[in-house]
Amino acid sequence: MAGGQERVLRRRIKSVQSTKKITRAMELIAATRVVKAQERANAARPYSQQITNVILDLVGLGAQSDHPLLREASEARRSAFVVVTSDRGLCGAYNSAVIRAAERELVARRAQGQDYALILIGKKANSYFKFRNYDIAASFYDLTDRPDYEDARAVSEVVRTMFEAGEVDTVDLVYQRFLSAGAQEVVVRRFLPLETEEGDGGGGGTEPHASIEFDPSPNVILDELLPRYVEARLFAALLDASASEHAARQRAMKAATDNAEELIISLSRIMNRARQDAITGEIMEIVGGAEALHQGQGGDHLDLPPALLEPESLSHRSA
């Protein structure tokens, strides 16, 4: 009877406790990884900043380039999406948010009569789109945990080749931008063709150089720089996504740990009540039994030996 229920509850509490240990460990690991990923993103910033400055200098000086990466198609017929997700789950809504944004954009483009190409990073995006029978142009695994530059180069190589060959007219990046440890947002950002106009200005702070010497010519340097620039931008996005992934995982695991704690408390409460009920039940049985005995002997007073009411002897009996 009640003893059985108590045993079942005790087992459940134990299992919740060990789950809590695991989620707590994952939370701590994710927390250190967020910091590391942020450090890497910061360390990578000077390069992309410098390369942007140099390109802006070149363009500002009138360097002309008909590099295919700058070519704007008169009419977009096929758009490519680079979707950055994680390989592993247990990170809350991180993947589903990215995938949903990508699919929405894709459907919208299709409604405009465009074809699509999917370049998927991370197993989660791959299994989602594969299951729904989308065409997958390329997929990459095992790089979102700790992306390095080689990974970015491999992905941008694929994207660039498709774009330069004219297979796709635009490329958009879909990933989670890292704002802070508590806030990330999904962004769909134009990746190719490159936009060379000086964005919102202000940045850089370098006054225009009236005369720069070049070796070789500005146009050749620009052509050499553009592919690097593409790689650097993709690398920055990967690092950002990786920091977001770890932050999302940390949050999800913190919620799971908190839930486990709550569950343990409420389960313990139920278990204690069950145990108390069992004890009460036993007392009632003993009292009832004693009274029945007493009445059988002809007495009309309930006269219980005090030792029987001592809790030690009760627990001793029920054990």
């Binding site: 890497r40 360390a43 990578a44 390069y47 410098q50 530059y149 720069i212 070049f214 070789p216 790689e231």
Partner: protein
């Protein structure tokens, strides 16, 4: 006035310091030196050691495997996908890579092998403290 030198790779800033003079090799042409007060300059540089004469009189050699150098207002920025300081180079590994590349070249010349050989040469030159590359 000294030159502010910065060597930046995509992953991090590899080297920062003050120098009196920098010697590098431009892609497709010859060596050039940068002294304080140099006019704004932008060049693509070859896979070749870059020599940095520091203000304290020491000289650092960096294996730069292609990249760009930009000079403006006594700030020198070297952007490179792959660059190694002398202290980071594993000489033994570079030597093995050189032998591998030479073998590959003999078996049928190949652009990749030639580039690998060139990189190995540069690495060895930097690690050995040389400044000339064959």
């Amino acid at each position: 006035m000294a030159l502010q030198v910065e060597l930046v790779s995509p992953e991090r800033v590899l080297f920062e310091g003050e120098a009196d003079r920098i010697i590098a090799r431009a892609l497709g042409s010859g060596d050039f030196a940068v002294l304080p007060g140099h006019a704004p300059y932008l060049a693509a540089i070859a896979t070749h050691p870059v020599r940095v004469m520091m203000t304290d009189g020491t000289e650092d050699t960096i294996a730069v495997h292609g990249g760009f150098i930009s000079v403006a207002n006594d700030r020198v920025t070297i952007l490179s996908d792959v660059a190694e300081l002398a202290s980071q180079i594993d000489e033994e590994r570079a030597r093995r890579a050189k032998e591998r590349a030479e073998q590959a070249l003999q078996n049928g010349e190949d652009m990749a092998a030639e580039a690998a050989l060139r990189r190995a040469h540069v690495r060895l030159a930097v690690a050995g403290g040389l400044s000339t590359v064959g």
